[in-house]
Homo-oligomer: 452 residues x 2
């Protein structure tokens, strides 16, 4: 009996070893194929240079829908379709922010209205600037000191966190809540210091939200250098700010997420891999999230190119409207539920096209530990960190339905230098870093498809 | 007895836990200090923009010696000195490479002579280009097919390796040996395809070597795009190339490495941390190796700033002449031996100022395993890979004397896009990536100083 057990263990370990070796060879094939023949980089160039930024509701977004449809067909999808989504239409229009110092002259500041913010309807709105350095400081300000004033939330992005997403998370409430907080005490509009890890003067836009039943006043962002200069000026004098902007939320319109899949050979349960097709209306939406889109298409193309027989359906989803509504993600989840589709797993890439370091796992411990058990396979590809417990915004609706979800974790050091800015361009993406992200995504999808 | 043993084990584990906690707190202090107050980035800007590239023997190199001396004093070194080194003086001068296609017109190509190469003495040298795609192909060429010809070694940088240093290592022999190989079969000069991971037309220089007793003919590099175009042209026609260059090895001159240290509080045994101060004569020597220099100075500054009591002497060495002679490293080892200085450890940063991923260890297994035992402390800083078994060029002489040596391992994806080119500029360095490298360096030096 003992001997038999020994033999079975030996056979088992040989089988496991054979499996690991087979997986290791497949990982290598995936990597060599993508590093040499991957199309992500040239497709990203096409998307960013020929279409550019593509905010929900814009003509450019509609062009990108057609673009993604074609790219999924080119990649070899068995089936490509558009999923209807009602998306918000927010437009920026012309905007300007000026300050008047004690010498009486007006000076224009580099700025961007925050996304979803109302404007001034093309009229000038002005008032004295009151600066606060933190929420706590703002909370202590009595309403009479805020009334008719402009509140400047000058909270700096913390450099202390190693993961810059933690610095972003730490400062994000200023962007989302500054307008309503200011309105509740009678202020005229809010200025925030950009959520930026860079030491430059580039303003960062991004979504803000209005609280229900609170007056909708404008909120704008200024770059770090301008914020520092303004802080300095405010130490010695009163400063008046004047805003003129035409931003406007113009209701909703019908648009689409783009979906393509290769049908499962064993069953029709679905593995999703995706990113979001929309972007803010500045820069080129390269790292956010053109890279996630081209990498997801690369996964499908690589399965076809290498002839990997997928057990389950592998579905690429190019989500609509992540930036200012997540309507694409919500609609996708809703439709999946309505159609009673079984989803095995969903992976998003929406943290930039930088060199990958890990995969963050939002799922039960049994599944998490199974994936962690594969980590030796990933190590040679620089992917070692499976400790994160979050996943992508667009796949939260799937997560909430009980689907195990995950997100690619690229190196985060450069992301918040350029996130939601004019600087988020193709030139900021490195070819090999982008492709290695697609390699890791294809590898994890391969393992899930094979083992789940 | 059993109970006593239990108690001792408990005490021991509490002590170990206390140690780990103390180290973890110190790691955090180092990281927060450098990410917020580190001077590496502004000092790199100063070095690259106010001095620029600084080849051994140039006036700029001598300026950088004075610069490093001052920066080490500013950082709080107890002692700063210059170490005399005889270094080679190689000068590029004017250079041009042209090709004549079958339509008879001459066309200039973007090129760089390889470092240490002889020129044409200002005269034109021309001949028909013969292309080979590999060493094997060249070896098969009979001498009569090479005689009086120009040999174009068109070996591409392999994209298949995840670590780009492996691609570099794979292609490096073409740069180092092309000239002598060509000369031995009677060729006039050699052209190589640049050792470049980028898909652009930037030529990469770098050191070549002449074999003894072989005619010293010129060798030049062209960028990838030019190489591809040339390959295409050669398929349909004979091409003549004409080189005119003034490069020249002008003998030796006295120069200096720059050294600064903080004296050990317990003993005078030495821990070295360094990079090389010289660079090639193009670009700004930013990633290669301005970043290693400013990071090494940051280590010293951080020890002083945080008041860390160093047991052993911590010595920053800014090595002279890594690029075309390693004379600074060789001289440093020689002097250490002559002075009978005990060296505990040496760490180099010479792989670019990119986000750190690991520390490569060239030492016996006992020491390697001790350092690997600290890896949980490094993990939160993105430093997880201690598998490498090599170390820096400048500290090989120390390694050969039995000193345990190591090298910072930054992410390698972008390095060979810009290595030894006009593109190796300050703008290619990210502030946080650079500073995190200095964090990891300070952390490992802290651990070695405390535990060895």
């Amino acid at each position: 009996m003992k001997k038999l057990l020994g033999t079975s263990l030996l056979l088992l370990s040989l089988t496991v070893f054979g499996q690991v070796q087979e997986d290791s060879i497949q990982f290598s094939k995936i990597s060599i194929e993508i590093l040499n023949n991957g199309k992500s980089y040239t497709e990203l160039k096409d998307l960013t240079k020929n279409i550019g930024h593509r905010l929900s509701g814009s003509e450019a977004y509609e062009k990108s829908v057609k673009w993604a449809e074609q790219k999924l067909k080119d990649a070899g999808a068995d089936k490509v379709w558009l999923q209807e989504v009602m998306i918000p239409v927010w437009e920026r229009g012309k905007e300007s922010l000026q300050i008047k110092t004690s010498n009486g002259t007006w000076k224009g500041l580099k700025m961007l209205s925050l996304g979803n913010s109302e404007g001034t309807g093309g009229k000038d709105i002005s008032g004295e600037i009151i600066m606060v350095k933190s929420m706590e400081e703002y909370e202590k300000l009595p309403a009479e000191k805020v009334k008719d004033k402009i509140i400047f939330f000058n909270y700096p992005f913390s450099q202390s966190f190693v993961e810059t997403f933690r610095g972003y998370g730490d400062a994000a409430k200023y962007r989302t809540t500054a307008a309503s907080l200011t309105a509740k005490k009678g202020g005229k509009f809010a200025i925030i210091r950009s959520l930026s890890s860079a030491f430059d003067d580039v303003p960062h836009t991004g979504a803000m939200r209005y609280e229900d039943k609170v007056n909708k006043i404008p909120a704008v962002a200024i770059g770090n250098t301008t914020a520092d200069e303004l802080e300095k000026l405010l130490k010695s004098q009163k400063i008046t700010a004047k805003l003129n902007s035409n931003c406007e939320m113009k209701g909703e319109k019908l648009s689409h997420s783009v979906i393509g899949e290769i049908t499962g050979k064993k069953d029709k349960s679905v593995i999703v891999v995706g990113g979001h097709l929309d972007s803010w209306d500045v820069g080129e939406g390269a790292h956010d999230d053109g890279t996630g889109i081209v990498q997801s298409i690369e996964v499908l193309r690589t399965f076809k190119k290498l002839g990997i027989q997928n057990n389950h359906t592998i579905r690429v989803v190019c989500f609509a409207n992540e930036e200012n509504g997540v309507k694409g993600g919500i609609q996708y989840g809703k439709t999946a539920k309505e159609n009673n589709e079984k989803h095995l797993f969903a992976l998003e890439s929406d943290a930039g096209g930088f060199t990958p370091r890990g995969i963050s796992l939002e799922m039960d411990d049994a599944k998490r530990n199974q994936i962690k058990g594969w980590s030796a396979l990933f190590f040679p590809y620089g992917v070692y960190n499976f400790e994160g417990k979050y996943s992508g915004t667009d796949i939260y609706p799937l997560h909430d339905m009980g689907v195990p979800t995950a997100e690619l974790v690229p190196d985060s050091q450069r992301y918040f230098d350029i996130h939601h800015t004019e600087e988020d361009t193709f030139e900021k993406v490195n070819r090999r870093e982008l492709l290695l992200g697609a390699v890791a995504m294809t590898q994890i999808i391969y393992m899930i498809d094979k083992n789940w």
